[in-house]
């Protein structure tokens, strides 16, 4: 029917701290990810056009299929505004934790 027009680019990002080298991403997104000799993913830092639907689909599969949830498909369609909120959202401040270690 209609043409789905996709603009912009995306990058598949891995959080290396969470990643434990299960290697599922290389199976699910072989065109984006290959593994090093220790089984950890090597992902290109070049943005991939969103119009490349096959790559985008497999990036989403890899993101969902990661057992450690270490992957993230980041859209870079425009120069990103400097966000005040980091990706790992800060924990809500609790009165208890402040008492425990005064700073």
């Amino acid at each position: 029917m209609g043409v789905i027009r996709r603009t912009g680019m995306f990058i598949l990002q891995v959080n290396p701290i969470l990643c434990d080298g299960f290697g599922h991403c290389a199976e699910l997104a072989p065109e984006l990810v290959h593994l090093d000799e220790w089984g950890y993913p090597i992902i290109s830092k070049e943005p991939v056009p969103m119009a490349d639907l096959g790559s985008y689909e497999s990036a989403r599969y890899a993101e969902r299929g990661c057992p450690r949830q270490a992957l993230h498909v980041a859209k870079v369609n425009s120069p990103a505004p400097v966000s005040n909120v980091p990706l790992n959202l800060p924990r809500p401040a609790r009165a208890v934790s402040r008492e425990r270690r005064p700073l």
Partner: protein, 424 residues
């Protein structure tokens, strides 16, 4: 008042014990002239002295845009085993560092200052504690100062690891996908600055940018504290004018003045060949060799030493100091150390190891949460390049005399058992 264009600045009036608050105010005047701090800091062109060389104003501006309960963290962890500058500064004039931290707190509107010193240096901890008490007795206005003593580890001095420790008692680096990234304690944004940077801010706040720029070069102004180790009569800490020739610094420190190479910027840094030591010591001059002043370390390697054997020792220790959070660092760095050992031993295995080493450098680079693996890769690449002749003779089965002798020049702490490493 210290005359413009003279040294010492950061070490002015020091004796063999820390300056008390009265002595400190006699040497430097009391810090009152802090009305136009932001403009003065911007005009001074100060870059951070912790290693990355990031402009301090940019950091301050970033933090000023943030809201919430802000913190200033003074990083006196001294991660580099070859460096002694933060310890020396904090145990000779802790008040100058605290002055600078208070000015930074005033600029960004922070309500707390946390000063972090590794608990492995109990004397420094004592000196800083006493300085904080002295200020508390005076009842000086301003934010409260807390002393924190994380365990000493190489990566514990990395800013995200330090903030992680303050936030959650773990000295492990954090994952920061986008930069610039604001580190936080709870919800409060944090400004992390090296102790020497704070001390420089303390001087700029008193005497202004023009005075600060009377030393150093146009792009890299001021003075810097340098730790000199390796082939020296005794390891020393000097305050030098940025732009002094490295050969002159070596001569002042009684070091070997015709070395094989000097290591600049610490164990995550790179080598400068012995025939290039007439280069001025400042970032813009060192840029042509892809080097930087970094954390102010000059490790001198004499001609009789074997560079590649030294590199192996350093890389083995750096691999051991990995926080083991990211696979490429936890597995890659020990692999680099093994390859370097094979190169030192030479023969057929060595030839294969050398090509493998170069491949692995490319694989590991840029894939950790922090810059630790990148630093090691830079060091390994620079070692391969600078000690190419050494490697050649090792691979031909004729190791140099330095490798056969047991004498080693770079200070590398003893390896602890992996289970004995303390991270919290």
């Amino acid at each position: 008042m210290i005359e413009p264009g003279t040294l010492p600045r950061l070490f002015a009036g020091v004796t063999n014990r820390p300056l008390s608050l009265e002595e400190h105010e006699r040497v430097f005047q009391p810090a009152d002239n802090v009305a136009s701090l932001l403009e003065e800091l911007e005009a001074s062109g100060l870059v951070g002295r912790g290693g990355a060389g990031f402009p301090t104003t940019r950091k301050v501006d970033l933090l000023r845009q943030q809201r919430g309960h802000k913190y200033v963290v003074v990083n006196g962890m001294e991660g580099e085993p070859a460096a002694h500058k933060d310890n020396r500064l904090l145990s000779t004039n802790p008040h100058l560092v605290l002055d600078g931290a208070e000015m930074l707190a005033q600029m960004i509107g922070a309500s707390r200052i946390a000063i972090c010193v590794a608990r492995d240096n109990p004397t420094v901890v004592n000196h800083v504690e006493r300085a904080i008490h002295e200020r508390a007795r005076r009842n000086l206005r301003g934010p409260g100062i807390d002393l924190h003593t994380p365990p000493w580890r190489y990566v514990a001095g990395e800013e995200s690891a330090l903030v992680h420790w303050l936030d959650d008692n773990e000295s492990l680096p954090q994952y920061r996908p986008g930069r610039p990234h604001i580190l936080r304690i709870g919800r409060g944004p944090v400004l992390v600055d090296n102790a020497e940077t704070c001390a420089s801010v303390g001087l700029i706040g008193r005497y202004g940018a023009q005075w600060f720029r009377s030393l150093g070069t146009a792009e890299h102004p001021g003075s810097v504290i340098v730790s000199i180790t390796g082939a020296v009569a005794r390891p020393s800490v000097l305050e030098v004018n940025l732009g002094t020739r490295i050969s002159n610094i070596l001569a002042t420190a009684d070091a070997d003045t015709s070395p094989q190479a000097v290591l600049l910027g610490g164990y995550g840094g790179a080598w400068l060949r012995g025939d290039q030591i007439n280069t001025p010591y400042s970032n813009e001059s060192l840029e042509q060799f892809k080097l930087s002043v970094g954390a102010g370390i000059i490790a001198v390697l004499p001609r009789e030493a074997c560079g590649i054997a030294e590199a192996h020792r350093v890389v083995r220790w750096m691999a051991h100091e990995s926080a083991r959070q990211c696979g490429p660092c936890a597995f890659g760095l020990p692999a680099l150390a093994e390859d370097l050992l094979a190169v030192v031993r030479g023969g057929h295995d060595g030839v294969a190891a050398l090509t493998r080493l170069q491949d692995r450098c490319g694989i590991i680079e840029g894939r950790g949460a922090c810059r630790h693996p990148d630093g090691v890769v830079r060091f390994v690449r620079s070692s391969i390049e600078v000690f190419a002749q050494d490697i050649d003779s090792h691979l031909r089965g004729a190791p140099c005399a330095g490798a056969r002798s047991k004498q080693r020049f770079l200070t590398v702490p003893a390896l602890e058992h992996e289970e004995d490493l303390i991270w919290e």
